[in-house]
């Protein structure tokens, strides 16, 4: 080997990092079951799997956040024991977490300097800033070391995470679902950077469940399922179907068939809606849209552009400043939540644990949250437990909800099953209009498949659906029309036949639709 072993970031190259026979148990779960995994210098190795397959656990072990119950880790052939992230950082291993690990109230330089050993315990930010500028030069990542994190966009924050990883533990970088919060353009930029880092000899691990990204980027792909490695394959012409089957263990269809359905009358009409966010700043600046019976209107946009406020305002959880909302021709602008529910509105909220369910309540109790006072569930002031149990049992069967019993507290169910429970509850009331906010976020592929098919089926049966999602694939898979939201304004409305990812991406970044 005549190649230099020092990387441009100043770290010693990690020619190989190997995990052998890793076992990690959590109470009641075998998260990693004798897992072998290896990554080399100059390689992007994708780690693919469903939620709960054990990818993140494995990587947290490599980063020193968890200690394995069994197994060994070797860096360049030498066995290592990491007791904390500080140990991993010292060996040149950095990790970029799915939720950015940045302190919003600190500057870029302070975030990078956090936890660094300095002589006399004094901060030496000038040296940190100088090195940051050098690194951002070498890797072409523009950052301002003096900017506060809260001033930065999501894409910029991710750049900070990358530079931080390069600065602190740069030889091997673990990226945990790094594209989840980015616009398509930001994803492209990220991939350019990652490929450049690969050329320079960094070892990169890319955790994802997005198949096309894994195909675009990686050299090798390791698929995990139920805590075990299914296989490690080179990325040369392997089909997405094959990868999905490896992940789930059977064939999946994430894009439901779309029969032609005649578009019915307008069910939901929103006019000039102005809404403020929690900080009393404008979140929606005059939104108008219609949703017809038998159609899915998708709201595309990067997180925080007013989607949450739109959903909450229609659902009655947030007051509008001005504008009009009509359901079936009747104004519901000032209606209470209960009145909206009775009028035929159903809502799948973005935060299923906070707004969708009560975690400590049982499955059965959560099923009747909205109509527990109405027959057949209640007679005068008393519950009819028989009726409640029959109703719940039927929904559990129909929606294939995996729960030990009707009495199980909802917080003990998986994300996908909680989401199915909410879907079951909302659809059991036979709504006219359904607002689905991020219905499959954080949900595994099989549940995603199920939820998407159910939404499509509801559309076919004539429900008017407003789908809000930050996942462009989901918007494209389901929507009849796509509305792009940016900073509280509609950038354009596109029919599904005319939709193309690049155009939508530009609109999501604030470019108005060309007339």
């Amino acid at each position: 080997m005549s190649q230099p072993t020092t990387l441009p970031s100043g770290h010693t190259r990690i020619d190989s990092a190997e995990m052998r026979g890793i076992v990690k148990r959590f109470p009641g779960v075998l998260a990693n079951d004798h897992v072998n995994f290896e990554v080399r210098a100059g390689e992007i190795h994708a780690l693919l799997g469903e939620n709960g397959a054990g990818k993140s656990t494995l990587m947290k072990i490599l980063y020193g956040l968890y200690q394995p119950d069994e197994g060994q880790i070797f860096i360049n052939g030498e066995e290592v024991h990491f007791h904390s992230p500080a140990d991993a950082l010292a060996r040149g291993i950095g990790m970029i977490h799915q939720h950015f690990m940045l302190v919003q109230t600190l500057t870029v330089a302070e975030n990078v300097a956090l936890g660094m050993k300095t002589p006399h315990g004094l901060l030496e930010l000038d040296g940190v800033k100088k090195r940051l500028r050098e690194l951002s030069e070498i890797y072409g990542l523009k950052i301002d070391p003096d900017a506060y994190i809260w001033q930065l966009s999501v894409g910029e924050q991710q750049r900070v995470e990358i530079v931080k990883a390069l600065y602190r533990g740069g030889a091997l970088i673990i990226l945990d679902e790094p594209t989840a919060v980015l616009t398509p353009q930001e994803v492209d930029e990220l991939f350019v950077t990652l490929k450049q880092m690969r050329e320079q000899g960094h070892a990169l691990i890319f955790i994802s469940h997005k198949l096309h990204e894994v195909q675009d980027l990686s050299d090798r792909i390791t698929v995990m399922r139920d805590g075990r490695v299914v296989d490690t394959v080179p990325n040369d012409g392997i089909e997405q179907r094959t990868l999905a089957r490896m992940m789930v263990g059977r064939d999946v269809q994430l894009q439901p068939d779309r029969p032609e359905v005649e578009r019915g009358p307008v069910r939901l009409r929103v006019r000039d809606l102005v809404v403020n966010n929690d900080q009393d700043l404008p979140a929606l600046r005059g939104i108008s849209l219609d949703v017809h019976a038998g159609e899915i209107v998708g709201i595309a946009g990067v997180s925080g552009n007013g989607q949450r406020e739109l959903a909450e305002t229609i659902a009655g959880l947030r007051e509008a400043v001005s504008g009009e909302i009509e359901l079936d021709g009747k104004s519901i602008l000032h209606a209470s939540v209960a009145e909206r529910l009775r009028a035929g509105l159903a809502f799948i909220p973005e935060e299923r644990m906070r707004h969708g369910t009560i975690g400590v309540f049982s499955v059965a109790e959560n099923m009747i949250l909205q109509n527990h006072g109405d027959p057949p569930f209640a007679r005068s002031v008393f519950f009819d437990f028989g009726a409640i149990a029959r109703h719940t049992g039927e929904l559990i069967r129909r929606f294939n909800i995996k729960t030990p019993s009707q009495e199980t507290p909802v917080k003990n169910l998986s994300g996908g099953n909680i989401q199915k429970l909410i879907l079951a509850r909302e659809l059991s009331r036979q709504p006219v209009v359904l607002i689905a906010a991020q219905p499959t976020r954080g949900v595994d592929i099989s549940a995603t498949e199920y939820i998407r098919h159910t939404l499509m089926q509801q559309r076919n049966e004539g429900v008017a659906i407003l789908l809000i999602s930050e996942d462009l694939d989901e918007i494209l898979a389901l929507s009849d029309r796509i509305v792009v939201l940016y900073e509280g304004q509609i950038m354009g409305v596109v029919d599904r036949e005319d939709a193309d990812v690049e155009m939508l991406g530009l609109m999501m970044a604030g470019a108005r639709q060309q007339a």
């Binding site: 992230p85 109230t105 600190l106 956090l114 315990g121 602190r168």
Partner: protein
């Protein structure tokens, strides 16, 4: 003691000391994400242990030794609070109140058993600063205090410097805002929080000692009279900034001695004197008012305040 504005201002600065010491310590604890409501009890224990060390009924030691003992006792209670709130992850508000009640009960018991219900000591005397204290008016207001007053005010810029210019300060700020992020950068969240809560206890102990052996060389049951809680409120009032906390301490010190100001300025309501009980009430009412307004500054509140940290929950 002649009552005039100069004397009133001097007292305002002097009586700000216990607030200031306790609040600065609480700033550190809260900036790292721990709400320590045990300050009151730590102050009481610091006050009693300091005066007992100094008094002839106890060890007859020098005031400096008394101060040190008060700080150690406060620090030990801080350690207890850290174990309960950081390691055992108990609800911080409730466990803090527990420590306050514990300190109140234990200091009263020790006072009865060890001191027989009366204790005095010759504590810190005035320490005029040479030359500066000779300046007319200003010298009297600022430079004729006991040593603890100077120390307390010097600790304000020192606290700012520590929080902003040292690694430890950066870790404190990070842990209070986003402990998970600090954890991934190799910072031990527990270690940082232990250090700040213990420091808070030490400072509360010093605040108590400043009451019992510097301001009023005497101990009485519950002599802090809620100052520890006011010190916690001051941290909110001061939006977690040592400088603003200092202004708050001065404001409350003036509110504490409002009777003096009313006499000096000859304030009357409808030609009658204001009932003194009404004036004594003012600091407590002010606390409530201050907290209502402090609510609007919640934006700068450490995001992780009162939240125990456990790895892997994010």
């Amino acid at each position: 003691m002649e009552l005039n504005i100069v004397e009133a201002l001097r007292l305002a600065i002097q009586f700000a000391t216990p607030y200031l010491l306790a609040s600065l310590g609480e700033v550190f604890a809260q900036r790292s994400g721990v709400l320590n409501l045990g300050v009151e009890g730590m102050m009481l224990m610091g006050a009693f242990s300091a005066i007992f060390t100094v008094s002839s009924k106890g060890f007859g030691a020098s005031p400096w030794v008394g101060l040190l003992v008060g700080m150690i006792v406060g620090g030990l209670m801080g350690l207890g609070m850290a174990i309960v709130s950081v390691t055992l992850q108990a609800e911080q508000g409730i466990s803090g109140i527990g420590f306050t009640l514990f300190g109140l009960g234990l200091s009263s018991l020790l006072f009865k058993v060890l001191a027989g219900g009366v204790i005095t000591a010759s504590g810190f005397g005035p320490f005029p600063i040479p030359l500066l204290s000779d300046i007319p008016v200003l010298g009297d207001v600022f430079f004729r205090h006991n040593a603890l007053v100077y120390i307390a005010f010097l600790l304000v810029p020192i606290s700012v410097w520590v929080l902003n210019r040292t690694s430890w300060g950066l870790q404190i700020r990070a842990v209070g805002q986003n402990p998970a992020a600090a954890d991934t950068m190799g910072v031990s969240v527990a270690r940082v929080r232990y250090s700040t809560v213990i420091l808070g206890g030490i400072m509360a102990g010093a605040a108590g000692a400043s009451l019992s052996i510097a301001l009023t060389p005497i101990f009485q049951e519950n002599m802090t009279e809620g100052r520890g809680f006011i010190a916690v409120a001051l941290v909110y009032f001061g939006s977690w900034s040592p400088w603003r906390v200092m202004w708050g301490a001065l404001l409350f010190s003036i509110a504490n001695n409002l009777q003096i100001w009313v006499q000096i300025l000859n304030i009357q309501i409808g030609g009658a004197d204001i009932p003194p009980n009404l004036l004594i009430m003012v600091p407590y009412v002010l606390t409530i008012v201050v907290l209502v307004f402090a609510r609007q500054r919640a934006r700068v509140e450490p995001a992780a305040l009162t939240k125990p940290f456990e790895r892997g929950e994010n």
